[in-house]
């Protein structure tokens, strides 16, 4: 995937688009975790949430190479 993504004719930094996508993915994960009470099994839910976001965003960002 190129570093910049063309939306229409305009070039947008790929990282920005992926960031928004990663946020959406996190939201979905969050919804699932909340629905089934998975955060009760985790020591520090918000830290876990942040770590999950970093993993998702990092994995997406690997596409840019």
């Amino acid at each position: 995937m190129p570093r910049e993504i063309a939306l229409g004719d305009a070039l947008v930094p790929g990282l920005l688009v992926l960031f928004v996508l990663a946020l959406l993915a996190l939201w979905l994960l969050d919804w699932l975790a909340g629905r089934f009470g998975l955060y009760r099994l985790v020591w520090h839910p918000t830290l876990f949430r942040l770590a999950a976001f970093v993993c998702v965003f990092g994995a997406f960002a690997l596409f840019l190479n």
């Binding site: 305009a10 947008v12 930094p13 920005l16 960031f19 928004v20 969050d30 919804w31 975790a33 909340g34 629905r35 009470g37 955060y39 520090h44 839910p45 918000t46 830290l47 949430r49 942040l50």
Partner: protein
């Protein structure tokens, strides 16, 4: 209970010290987290070589809050608003790339519409509108001479704001978070035990009118607070989000039960006043099983679940008692009064059961069952107030824009930007003139300090770490003030002014002439925001708007009488509560205005609910065609009376209800309709209610006797 034990065993002085320290610690934690967020954001933004790292840093200041849920909620809406604003900016530039005048008009209109939208909502949704407005200006104004640059400008702004949001969200949520969730839990529990306690405590029957009014006020506040908290907590806690619908349902049932409870007690009070003690005492007696059912210590950990079977038993007993008591009445009149009250009481018992049921589902450790009934908390909005906000913002922008073009002021854009931001940010506060003035003072302090910091400190330093050390002493007091209630505005202005004027970039420029010109432009911008608030005062809090809100509240009876039935109960309750709490927030407690308002709210609540129940019964059963016109007459005349109260329409409404009661009495098998009608009738004839002003001079006691 534990609080009093605590104060007994620990000396007062030590407790004072501990509490002060705890408060201080929370302030310093807030300061530390905010500063950390600011400088981490700045560092990342510089590493990423974003064009204006200071924007990202300012974002963290704006979303800073002591509670993580608030930060996340504000961030979410800030992100939404920024994206919408960026889209609008590109659209406006694309539409008018060559005509500066038209372009300014379009921009002003967009800003105005966003400001208007913001006044329609409370909470952070309003904030998203504000952001959508001024983001467009922030993106567009700097590239006004160079339209193709708008896209880069938009992307830069988006990246900076999103970066700031991410960092402050992560830091406030991960580093020693202070949770709104706990506040939500506490206030939901508080609402529950407060209400049940009140119901239990009122077993003796008559509650004085002012106690009733105070209780109503408290319940309304509780319902609206809970809804506000809920809308913030869903960003912080995934589990609360999953339970969000349950919480709404809980709140709706609370409102329904508290309304019925009010009606019931007003009825008993009226009967007592009219010296119909037999019926009143019988009702109080009938009420007793409910009070006994609630006599359980709730702190035992079992929660609401234990109450459910007890309430069922109590309801059964009340039904049986009612039959028995009814047989004992010799007087026709007493019997009628009693029946009206008993049906209200049974309705209340049913609603109380539903409410406790919702509470016990909320307290259950797991989310059970499938989707819950979807309910909405509707708000009462005033479109005229929104129109004023729109007009004010548009006019301010047009005047500033015209001045900018005419004077060819090089830094006019800076003034315009600041004016836009502040006119938008504070349009939704109850007292914008004061807040904006506070922020302006803070801004001045921040800029003077910024001057010192910029030219005497930063010029001596090299590298990011030293820069942080250099800025910190100037910033820290501002952030600390932000945490306090009284000085919050000044603190916000201080921090904003300092960061804005320092305008961190990767290549810092030291140019005193430009610095001072920019400072002057920003002050002019702030002043024009203040002036715009003074010239076109915000409608919020004015007597004019209060009259309008009162009219809207009365219009709720018309809503109850005419709006389509599905979902009407929820809609009526939540709009009522929202309107009521809006006006309460804007009136002096205990003033004549406030008392009139509460009195109206009670009347509207009671009559509206009775009308809704009446309509439900009308829709359910087969009505004889001769009866329907009478009932529709009741609905229409009552709606007209409440929309425009005067003695003539009062008489019309009163007569319509009397005719309908007589009409229903003539038909067999429609006695259930009578109870609602009698309730409406008694509310209309209550000599102590706000309606007394429209009554002809006849003694109320006789009227009640005559009525039913």
């Amino acid at each position: 209970m534990t609080g009093s034990d605590f104060s007994g065993s620990v000396p007062l002085g030590r407790r004072l010290v501990v509490e002060t320290l705890r408060e201080e610690a929370s302030v310093w934690l807030f300061v530390a987290k905010t500063l950390l967020a600011i400088f981490v954001t700045g560092w990342i933004a510089m590493r990423l070589a974003l064009p204006s790292p200071s924007t990202a840093m300012i974002t963290t200041i704006i979303v800073a809050n002591r509670q993580s849920g608030m930060v996340l909620a504000k961030s979410f809406y800030r992100a939404l608003g920024t994206v919408a604003g960026a889209g609008a900016a590109i659209g406006i530039v694309a539409a008018f790339p060559q005509q500066r005048d038209l372009f300014l008009v379009a921009l002003s209109l967009w800003l105005g519409v966003c400001a208007g939208g913001a006044t329609l909502y409370r909470n952070f949704k309003a904030y998203a509108f504000v952001l959508a407005g001024y983001t467009a200006a922030v993106i567009v104004v700097p590239v006004i001479e160079n339209p193709p640059g708008v896209f880069d400008s938009a992307v830069a702004r988006l990246s900076e704001v999103l970066l700031g949001i991410l960092v402050s969200g992560a830091i406030s949520d991960v580093v020693f978070p202070s949770r709104v969730r706990d506040v939500l839990r506490r206030s939901a529990r508080g609402q529950f035990s407060d209400f049940l306690g009140f119901v239990r405590g009122s077993m003796e029957g008559a509650i004085p009118r002012d106690a009733m009014e105070n209780a109503h006020l408290r319940f309304v506040r509780a319902a609206v607070t809970l809804e506000d908290l809920r809308s913030s907590v869903i960003f912080e806690d995934a589990e609360t989000r999953a339970r969000s619908n349950h919480l709404r349902l809980f709140n709706q049932r609370f409102m329904a039960a508290s309304t019925s409870f009010q009606s019931l007690h007003h009825l008993i009070n009226r009967l007592k006043r009219a010296r119909r003690d037999r019926a009143a005492d019988a009702l109080v007696h009938l009420y007793a099983p409910l009070g006994e059912a609630l006599e359980v210590p709730l702190e035992a950990g079992e929660g609401a679940r234990v109450l459910l079977p007890r309430l069922l038993v109590a309801r059964e007993r009340m039904r049986e008692d009612a039959v028995e008591v009814r047989a004992g009445f010799a007087d026709e009149q007493d019997l009628r009064d009693f029946e009206t009250g008993a049906s209200l009481l049974l309705r209340f018992a049913g609603e109380l059961y539903d409410y406790v049921d919702a509470a016990s589902t909320l307290q259950a450790p797991r989310i059970v069952g499938g989707p819950v009934e979807r309910v909405r908390f509707d708000r009462g909005n005033d479109y005229l107030g929104a129109g004023i906000a729109t007009a004010r913002t548009t006019l301010t922008m047009l005047v500033l824009g015209a001045f900018w073009i005419e004077s060819a002021w090089p830094l006019g854009s800076s003034a315009m930007l600041i004016a836009t931001i502040f006119a938008g940010l504070f349009a939704v506060t109850p007292n914008p003139t004061r807040v904006t003035r506070d922020v302006t003072y803070g801004y001045l302090i921040g800029m003077v300090l910024g001057f010192l910091c910029h030219f005497f400190v930063l010029t001596q330093l090299d590298g990011y770490g030293l820069m942080v050390a250099g800025v910190l002493p100037f910033l820290v007091v501002g952030v600390m003030l932000q945490a306090s209630q009284r000085w919050g505005g000044i603190g916000l202005g201080w921090a904003l002014g300092l960061l804005y004027i320092l305008a961190f970039k990767n290549h810092q420029v030291y140019d005193p002439a430009h610095f001072i010109n920019d400072a002057i432009a920003q002050i002019v911008g702030l002043m024009s925001a203040v002036v715009s608030f003074i010239v076109i005062p915000s409608a919020i809090g004015s007597p004019w708007l209060r009259r309008r809100q009162l009219a809207a509240l009365r219009g709720q009876v018309a809503l109850a009488a005419e709006a389509p039935l599905p979902g009407l109960r929820h809609r009526f309750e939540s709009v009522n509560h929202d309107l009521f709490s809006q006006v309460v927030a804007q009136t002096e407690p205990g003033s004549a205005d406030s008392r009139a308002l509460i009195a109206w709210a009670l009347a509207v609540h009671e009559t509206g609910r009775a009308l809704i129940e009446l309509r439900h019964d009308m829709a359910r059963g087969e009505l004889p065609p001769t009866l329907r016109p009478y009932l529709e007459g009741v609905l229409a005349t009552l709606a007209r009376f409440y929309v425009k109260p005067d003695p003539a329409s009062y008489l019309l409404a009163r007569d319509a209800v009397a005719t309908a009661i007589a009409g229903v009495c003539e038909h067999e098998g429609h006695r259930h309709l009578l109870e609602h009608l009698r309730l409406v009738r008694m509310a209309l004839l209550d000599g102590e209610s706000v309606l007394a002003a429209y009554m002809p001079d006849t003694p109320p006691a006789k009227e009640i006797a005559h009525a039913s």
